[in-house]
Subunit: 352 residues, 2 copies
Amino acid sequence: MRPTIKDIAERAGVSKTTVSFALNDPGRISEETYKRVMAVVTELDYVPNPVARTLTTKRLGALGLLLPQPITEALRNPYVVEIIRGIGELCAERELSLTMLPPMRGRVIEAARRAFVDGLITIGVGPDHEVVELLNKRHIPFVTIDGVDTEATVNVGVDDEAAAYSLMAHVLGLGHRRIAVLALMPETIKLPEERYSLVRDRRLAGFSRALAELGLSLGSPGICVVPAESSIEGGDAAVSAILASSSPPDLAPTAIVAMADAVALGAYEACRRVGLAIPADLSVAGFDDIPTAAGAMPPLTTVRQPGREKGAAAAALVVELLDGGDDLAHEALHRRLDTELVIRQSTAAPKD
Amino acid sequence: MRPTIKDIAERAGVSKTTVSFALNDPGRISEETYKRVMAVVTELDYVPNPVARTLTTKRLGALGLLLPQPITEALRNPYVVEIIRGIGELCAERELSLTMLPPMRGRVIEAARRAFVDGLITIGVGPDHEVVELLNKRHIPFVTIDGVDTEATVNVGVDDEAAAYSLMAHVLGLGHRRIAVLALMPETIKLPEERYSLVRDRRLAGFSRALAELGLSLGSPGICVVPAESSIEGGDAAVSAILASSSPPDLAPTAIVAMADAVALGAYEACRRVGLAIPADLSVAGFDDIPTAAGAMPPLTTVRQPGREKGAAAAALVVELLDGGDDLAHEALHRRLDTELVIRQSTAAPKD
DNA sequence: TTTGTATACTTAACCGGTTTAGTAATTCGG
DNA sequence: CCGAATTACTAAACCGGTTAAGTATACAAA
């Protein structure tokens, strides 16, 4: 059996307290005793049990990331990876580990319940969500990414509505009138009250506003909204379906506007397979500006949002909350980062 | 203050034990008592402290991934992301969370010491590594990925030597004789004994064997080995430096053989910047076959190794060890997955 | 009526550390 | 030489749960 502090104490002929001091605060005991204790520690290969320590110190040295999907699926979206990398920056700075918490028993809240973390970051959880309630009960500080800016929660996000507006305005400005919008999927739909996809709604609102300026709407003929999983595969599948079902073909969309670059790059795959040229035959626009967007062929038109910074900002806020920043001002607790429309070569005026 | 089980017990007029039963094994108490206890639980917003529970149950419900670099850097390599996704498959299946453990205080072992996990997966740690010793002391089952197949450790990997040989043989077969090898960097180099990069050595051995068949070696004129960070940026920087320092230019390499696809794609960037065409002016080969390798322009020649499967296999082994599989056969504990040379369009015969 | 056996609950020990409060011995100031 | 302060250490409480062992009551069987 693995040795405990008690074993060390007995063998060294001292109390548990003395062993604890030797390990954590050697200045409090004599040089001689210290050496004796440490000799036994080495002899028995003693390593303190971090869980037991936590019970009293109440610090785990870990941040958590609550995911709305299984890890495998979530990481399929490079944008999520960017967010994690941002959180990673703070982990390095503060010597923390990062725990990814996928839904358990199909529920996000179940993961939150079991989380061994000092603080949490959530993606896309609304302020009225049951998870918020639970975390407050557990007294675990948390920050939402892409949530909602209310008094109730600390949030980091962007102006999704405005960003979406600018993207759609660009596409409409090129002359497109038959457009397929590839929308984010509500990731976890086990229970109706788990309402993710605030982001989805806000971006749809932005698209609508741009369309409205031309007297159009998301329901107009030629305009359609199709859900797609946030991955290359998801985009590929959705666009393949759209192209296959467009009959007659001259009523097919002339532009694809995706809510994630990964989905847009999936559209590239679908086009390649059926021999459509981008942007000559079909314009494609994305959202996020993931690292591979600029290097794609053709380079992808998209809205840049700073994924790493989002993650880093959220983690920084969690750490601030942990450091006792209960009295932080509202504006210090709500960060809205900038977005930028990046026009590259995947969008052009329609042929006809 | 957050309520504890004691508070619930007092308020409900029962013992702590009864509360514990109500929460974990309701069948053991009467319907009536159960309701009374749960009413108080709801009233006081009680959520059990998972850390305290762990002290006796000894199950955290978490796997750990020991990273040789900070999270931010590690995730820059899509291949690492694939491995994580593989681990994620098992996490979903077994309802586990996944903790990423970057080095702490510059040392991997320090992260291993503090890890709150049931089992660990390490990347690239050798069997003689101090981390191995520590984990044995802590009685934490662990599996290495890309480590070494010895009795001492449970490992999942591929035949790196053979894979590297086939890749180099392909490049040499096309006629290339001036080749730059972009090698993995020893990730953590705080201490000399933290010897990562077993993979690097084995792949170099494979390259050497292929070269030796033509009477060449890694030290021959025209052949050079340059370290590059495992990321697009790292590959870009390394290749830019190589191209800039090749004077006269007609002694520049005609082929780049990278040990990671991310690095090879970085070479694409460098070539694009200086106007070199791939493969006309320069052949580029990678290693891993990350998801974007096939979609790159031109599609990347590489050696496929199954990243997701590696992660999934490692996680499956950890879980088996956790389930008490101490008596598993050696072959059951060492998995060697297949690789495959994938020839695409980024390699061709040299011009001259 | 006695014995045996569920049932429903409690007491107390335990997990493995940290920390508070306290004791004994030594040093120091006046 | 006495009281105060310091040093070195320990006993016991504590963190917040789980669980083995034990008790009291009700009910069934002998």
